[in-house]
């Protein structure tokens, strides 16, 4: 085992990166743009609803609706007061997402709802608002205030907090996901190039051992994966202002574990591709299922049983849980969840190292 040879391989990869500005952009700019977009979209998804109120009770429900409109505008819902005919026309024409009609009934008021209906998320939000309206009106002649204020309820947050958004929940896994994605893609392609250009054969006839080669590769790509993770972390914490309770060194340690696995899986799979196009075809096989099933977006415990089983053979499942534990819950390596998930990542990495080494035998055929 020669550190000099390992370092030579690492240095070569770093130099190749430096000469390749497109890859650098891919590595650093793309995750930043994606994470900013996800953050922006998740924070604004509830907003933008246009809702009409039709009040036909001759003013009896007006104070309650006025107070509710105030609350709604804070949540990004714009409300309008109009006549039933206007509401029907505008909902059908798509200018409004829906309208809530309050009409007189035997006891108090009756509520009917018009929905534009093509966007199920908005429809559901309007139905929720309508339930609040009915709640307010049924209890309300005496209660002008729309809803019990949150501050009236006693809430205890164990982790996160009242300002915690979906993005706070989803940013930690994205760090692991991007590290895995880029390191996997870049090692697969660059190893494929080594094979097709003949440089791999040239390397294998030097005294370089498989271990030195694999270690050099892992270190070369690991440097960039760690830099990428730090950049993503800075953006999420300082630009997106995501809550962050964790220990930076531990986050980077998890990223390194993910990187070792991803680089070696890439080396292994590069054997099965003849062209770069074929290498890119591994993305839907390796990356997309992990993006969907590893709990980046949807929690694994909501999956049907068999899909949970699938999720548990994906390395990113473990890195996602560990990164959430560290970054949101501020847990350490010795806490049970983090420790076991880290061990699982190490196990995956070791397995991928073994199968990658098998494809790097000096002698073939």
């Amino acid at each position: 085992m020669s550190a000099a040879r390992t370092w030579a391989v690492t240095l070569r990869i770093v130099r190749q990166f430096r000469r390749d500005p497109r890859t650098l952009v891919l590595l650093f700019a793309v995750p930043i743009v994606v994470i900013l977009l996800v953050g922006y979209l998740l924070r604004t998804s509830s907003g933008g609803i246009k809702l009409g109120f039709v009040e036909e009770t001759g003013g009896a429900a007006a104070p309650a609706l006025g107070a509710l409109g105030q609350t709604l505008s804070e949540a990004g819902v714009t409300s309008y007061h109009l006549s039933r005919a206007e509401a029907e026309e505008q909902v059908e024409g798509g200018e409004l997402d829906g309208a809530i009609i309050v009409s007189p009934a035997d006891q108090g008021a009756a509520i009917s709802i018009l929905l534009e209906g093509s966007n199920p998320q908005r429809s559901k939000a309007i139905l929720r608002i309508a339930r609040q309206v009915s709640l307010v009106l049924s209890t309300s002649s005496a209660l002008p205030q729309a809803l019990p204020e949150e501050s009236d309820l006693s809430v205890t947050y164990y982790y996160g907090g009242p300002d915690f958004d979906t993005i706070d929940f989803q940013a930690p896994p994205l760090i692991g996901f991007f590290a895995f994605f880029f390191v996997f893609l870049l090692t697969t392609v660059s190893f494929l190039r080594e094979r097709t250009a003949g440089t791999l054969e040239r390397l294998m006839v030097t005294p370089t051992t498989r271990a030195e080669l694999v270690l050099g590769y892992v270190a070369g790509f690991g440097i960039f994966a760690v830099l990428q993770a730090m950049v993503i972390l800075l953006v999420t914490v300082f630009v997106l202002q995501v809550e962050y309770a964790g220990n930076l060194a531990l986050v980077l340690l998890l990223v390194v574990a993910v990187t070792v696995g991803a680089a070696n899986l890439g080396i292994f799979l590069s054997t099965f591709a003849r062209t770069e196009l074929q290498a890119v075809q591994f993305i839907p096989i390796v990356i997309v299922p992990q993006g969907l099933l590893s709990g980046v977006i949807w929690s694994i415990d909501t999956f049907p049983r068999w899909l949970q089983g699938v999720a548990h053979v994906l390395p990113l499942t473990y890195s996602n849980e560990a990164l959430r534990d560290v970054m949101i819950r501020g847990r350490g390596l010795l806490d049970e969840g983090v420790g076991l998930n880290f061990l699982a990542l190490v196990g995956f990495a070791a397995f991928f190292v073994v199968i990658a080494s098998m494809t790097l035998r000096r002698q073939v055929g």
Binding site: A4, L11, R202, V205, R362
Partner: protein, 237 residues
């Protein structure tokens, strides 16, 4: 001193195709041997068997006193593949010093000298992607030479190189021979083969004849190597 390379009954099958059939020869140290034959005759297979990247189906090869493959000999063999296997994004110097460090050579002077030898000192810091085919071939040769190997295995080293530089290569090969370096190179160019000390004629994976260019010509009673090759090939079938 024993032979630099000795090969006994070496055969290699790829599935149903026999790329090399029962080839035996020895190579004396400090000489240049030419593997001569048309494309697909088994030259590259033979070189890769000597390197140990292929495992023979039968027979054995001993290189520098050790059976192939041997980690100990890897450090003293230089290999130049047929296609210039280089990192195109890197400069000539970075390519050469990369292979140098894999062979445990860390001196900047060794790299500079090797680059000067292949007449690339003035372009040493340009990326190889900007080089012509012949220049890439020279960088590739430099990568095979930089650690001063005792045995050089060169697969078609002079393809795409202009005549002036080809002469320079041959002069340099002679100098390496004088220093005791053994060279085995493959070629399909007959006039180039005249410059080798000894030749191994291959066709369809079989050894047709072995000897110095003059011996081969007189054995076949022909005036050129090309005619000699055809005469041997005719006898073989």
């Amino acid at each position: 001193m024993g032979p630099a390379v000795s090969v006994e009954g070496l055969s290699k099958r790829f599935g149903r195709v026999e790329a090399l059939h029962d080839v035996s020869f020895t190579v004396a140290p400090g000489q240049t041997y030419g593997l001569l034959g048309p494309g697909g005759c088994g030259k590259t297979t033979l070189i890769r068997l000597l390197l140990g990247v292929l495992r023979p189906s039968a027979g054995r090869a001993v290189v520098l006193g050790r059976p192939v493959p041997s980690p100990a000999t890897a450090a003293v063999i230089g290999y130049m593949p047929q296609l210039p296997a280089l990192y195109l994004e890197l400069t000539a110097r970075e390519n050469v010093s990369f292979f140098a460090s894999l062979y445990g050579v860390h001196s900047r002077r060794a790299v500079d000298e090797t680059l000067a030898l292949v007449e690339l000192a003035d372009r040493a810091d340009s990326p190889v992607s900007t080089f012509s085919g012949g220049m890439r071939q020279r960088v590739s040769l430099a990568c095979a030479l930089v650690h001063r190997p005792r045995l050089l295995l060169l697969d078609e080293p002079t393809v795409g190189i202009d005549p002036r530089l080809r002469v320079a290569f041959w002069t340099y090969f002679q100098r390496l021979n004088d220093e005791g370096v053994t060279i085995i190179l493959s070629s399909h160019v007959m006039d180039e083969a005249e410059r080798c000390r000894r030749l191994i004629l291959l066709r369809d994976g079989r050894l047709l004849a072995e000897g110095s260019p003059a011996e081969l010509r007189s054995q076949a009673a022909t005036s050129t190597l090309e005619e000699a090759f055809l005469a041997f090939a005719g006898n073989g079938t």
